[in-house]
Symmetry: D2
Subunit: 358 residues, 4 copies
């Protein structure tokens, strides 16, 4: 069951990196939502390898085929099956990884758990698994847009190592997509790209922080206790490959404030309850309060580096391993659509759950 | 369903702060695990109000009664029902909160979601809800200790605002429990206590960071994709009241390293696969690797402050509110057993899931 | 998790027959539904032992205490905890059952599964477990009545062994409750009561069939594929103690007809789609069609008989066992409210699920 | 979520009858179970249309492609994605069904629930959906055979309308597969086939009862309360298309016995606890007792008949409808592998759940 996410709006992903394909089943999508393969493709293209000079050059078109649940451009309310064939498998590139565990990858732990693993391409632990998430997220987004007119979710690269983007007063998808690193600060983008390219040329890698801002979520979405909106978002984000941290609103920095400084005072604004500050990050007691939902996710530097590293073999002997071939020197540009997808999925699920209360 | 947590080892908590009582049902606990009410009480006493001069003075014994699922000191494999009666309700202390929404509390969002709420004591959003978690966690701990001989989970206060504890080479429960703030650094404890008391006297509040170290978890626990061990831990922690951030292993600081610096090299140690560093925090690809599991949780300063704040009424008018009565100037000391409880719950669930694979 | 039922409207029961008490947590109940303890008590009194001369004389008031989730006669949207204390435990009456497995009871299988069991009173396998179901069902009924104005669910004893009730054209709760056997045919009731009393005096027992008719469910409730309305009803009914069969609409008898005879033709009736016959039992393709939902449940004769029977001990030796004490010679009268409760639970869950689709 | 079944061993089916294809994702399958596409194909061929003169002649090879989760003939422990392309779609054959609701089909109720439906071929309500179940069941069977050496599940046609098969003392798959109706009584098979062919030639249809016997399930599988083994089996069977009833062991006939007649006395047999009779059907208190599990399922006559019937249009007008084209005059022969598949799925899930208890 660990490959399913959501309670009412639920996705189940499947697929190994170098198997026949990857995909997803979306169950619980309401009927009569407009949906085409182009809706999916737009998001998949943002996640795709080979999209720019700073991501892995693996050649994959990642063309999504909708196999069920949609008729004449409308959802039927039945499960939506989606398939993406894998095309660029290179089993030969992974021969020596078969015996040696790649440091900070999932090779060893998969073996410890299952006693077997699809070595080639990382199998199920590959980032290709996120294709199903991004496709499912694109559908969740349509559901949200259908019900919440002002719904908008924008993720962007906030930092790459020590380079920090300035966040403009008015964010837009256009600005974020205007640069290949997907930062909200085109001026910083140049430096970030240069840093990522330098890392690539060294066979090294780098991480950073992505921030996500969600607008147009009305007050009242979410749940108390275990399924708090921030708890579900945290799980969603920490389930993405390479994530090491999650914080919402004031986050870790909020621990430096007193309660009087930190509290978000309420005021009335044209008949609507608002807060003057947003240290809560748009969520209070697990439930949205109508302000922007704002959170950040930390990504470690990619574990794949093209340099010799010490490690052990699957038969318990010390050895060294030099990875060759393709790698993402920085996962951030491709992680932006993943974060948006997971956010859509969490919110669509809570939207349906809220409706159930009548 | 938002009041249940876990898939195979599942708790369902219930209860409002000022209702007749609070409690939990634990379903899925294996049979023949030794268990007594004293096992629960020990953990509940660490969570209890009134335990020291730096926590809320609300008078509650928090005596747990086991209503089912246990016979002659052994679990039966059937649901374990646990009840704690509320004794110190003061509805009168909350009269003015009935109309005015307390800033950064859940008052407004509960109203937005449900159109009704138990005003007194915060109702379901009160920290009293965590009694059920701590009781359930105490049972999960027994299950883990029964199967994993070296299992140990130690949480401790790492920082209070800008005061940081030194983490000793050898942590122990004795050191952590030796001071009322539950830090691992008794020298820092004095300053932390002084700071918390100063905040209390001002009617203000303060937050900080708790770190948690888990030992004795073998390689292979956890799951790939959505139910990664760190994802489930993140959800568990972010579902606790007042949490604003979660990070595992290198966390946000890890974004400042390159891949070559960050990767945990493997080596053989007396026949066992180990890593020289632990930036992974004991989890790789969502599955434990046998190293210590290490994570941190950020807690905001308590929202209850005894000073006048601007806010709005539930009929949409600007107003001010001065909270009176009891409050926790800092939630950290009482949050330590909550974090341990949630950790036990996540791990017991994954232990059972791993067994199911055969 | 085997003690929870439902997805959105979910109950979790707990409690052993001779432990401190039994109860239930109801999670997912919408807010602002009128609810009092009297609503529960009315149904619990129909399930209660000692209610008439044809049921077990165990002395239990079965007074339900609502511990959470309700304030001033309205649900809060939070979990509703309910407790019924056990009062009439007689551990001594069960001494010899400790070693010998009662035929056609759950003694042996509980030992086989758990390696431990609460011998006294049957522990968790006792019909006392259904108290939580009946209480939860009473709440589900309030939810249904709140949303579906004409909602009515009437179960009644259709047969006791070979005695069959005539079903009147217009069923009513009054007629069913007018006799202690809870049949819809007061004339047949006398014979049924006589038969049950004869069985009791012989220390023997008897079974029969309960029919249930649900009115006022609009077309469109239910789901395709696995959670078909009849599938969920079947599971609900077959989870009740002593059930051996379930059939809906034409049921087993429908296998004697051809398709042309069996099909329910549609026609328009004052703007509403209706069927002239109802062999479908109100459900087509797993989804309600607006006709009455009609199903039947077979109950075996009670396993407890007060006569000597051959059996084996828990150490694997042949032996005999003569049960003494209290028993229900026929479970049907007390099973009527259980069947209604489970029906309410299934329908309330599907009502909420339908709402979620928007 | 209504298209998923199981808790630990979970299948999620997808696909419309006349869409691009149908399939299933199997999540929770243990690793290192031998599995090939041939294992699936063997069962799919038993379910396939066109397999004999008494089933629908729709031309479908139903070739299953495993897309993930299996490597070199072994399961990986990751989700197993399976795809079957649809090839013989005839949208034109369904033109008039677009407006007129077919009696006793799901056309009207799907419209009532979703406000949209895939008209052609019945869309999601088509028996093609069961391809995913049969494929998933074939995998569950491998898991059971891997752990329970003597595991065997045999379903067979017991009655076709009023024709009843004699059940031989020693059942075998060979006998059942020796005739195209899949009954256990080859002598009766001839009459059954003649009856079915007569119905087909009249454009009419017919139903009957399938019995299923499961051997080699040890005592202790199942669960108390809601997830009783018979409850899960009942749900599984009643979720199959065209089912109207389920009974286990003595079933409805058991209501004609007294408790003394009905109880299954225990005795010791070479160190093993056995019962002399099996009115319990192999399950007591929801948990297997080691005897054969025996149950029966009633199937209505197929709703598709090639004769004029009265009905209504989707715009609310009385009309008549004469279905043309292909139909199954009797679903029983193809339902046999479906019942076995659902049984495997229920038991594999409970096997994994039992293991989780340690």
């Amino acid at each position: 069951m660990s490959s399913s996410f959501g309670t009412l709006f639920r996705i189940s992903t499947w697929g190994e990196s170098h198997g026949p394909g990857v995909g997803v089943v979306v169950d619980g999508c309401p009927p009569r939502i407009p949906l085409t393969e182009a809706d999916l493709q737009h998001e998949l293209d943002r996640r795709r390898p080979g999209q720019s000079k700073i991501v892995t050059p693996r050649k994959e078109d990642d063309k999504a085929e909708i196999l069920s649940g949609v008729l004449d451009g409308q959802t039927l309310g039945t499960p939506i099956g989606i398939l993406v064939r894998n095309t660029d498998q290179r089993p030969s590139a992974y021969t020596e990884m078969q015996q040696a565990y790649r440091p900070s990858h999932a090779d060893y732990t998969y073996d410890a758990k299952y006693g077997i693993r699809a070595v080639s391409g990382g199998g199920r632990s590959s980032a290709r698994e996120t294709i199903g998430r991004v496709a499912g997220g694109a559908i969740a987004r349509k559901v949200l847009q259908h019900s919440l007119p002002g719904y908008e979710c924008l993720a962007y690269v906030k930092t790459v190592r020590d380079l920090t983007a300035a966040v403009p007063a008015r964010l837009s998808a256009e600005v974020i997509e205007s640069n290949i690193v997907r930062t909200c600060d085109p001026a910083a983008a140049e430096q970030m790209i240069a840093l990522i390219e330098a890392m690539r040329s060294e066979g090294n890698s780098i991480g950073g922080v992505i921030e996500c801002v969600v607008r147009g979520v009305p007050a009242g979405l979410g749940a108390p206790v275990f399924d708090k909106l921030e708890a579900d978002l945290a799980k969603a984000m920490m389930s993405l490959p390479a994530t090491k941290g999650f914080e919402i609103g004031s986050g870790f920095a909020g621990t430096q404030m007193t309660g009087l400084e930190h509290n978000d005072e309420f005021y009335m604004d044209e008949g609507r309850v608002r807060t003057r500050t947003n240290r809560s990050g748009g969520i209070q007691g697990g439930i949205s309060n109508g302000e922007d939902i704002v959170f950040r996710v930390a990504f470690k530097p990619t574990a794949t580096v093209l340099r010799e590293q010490k490690t052990v073999t699957n038969t318990g002997e010390d050895t060294t391993l030099s990875a060759r071939g393709r790698h993402d020197p920085c996962v951030l540009p491709r992680a932006v659509p993943m974060i948006e997808a997971m956010t859509h999925l969490v919110l669509a699920d809570h939207l349906l759950r809220q409706r159930a209360l009548g």
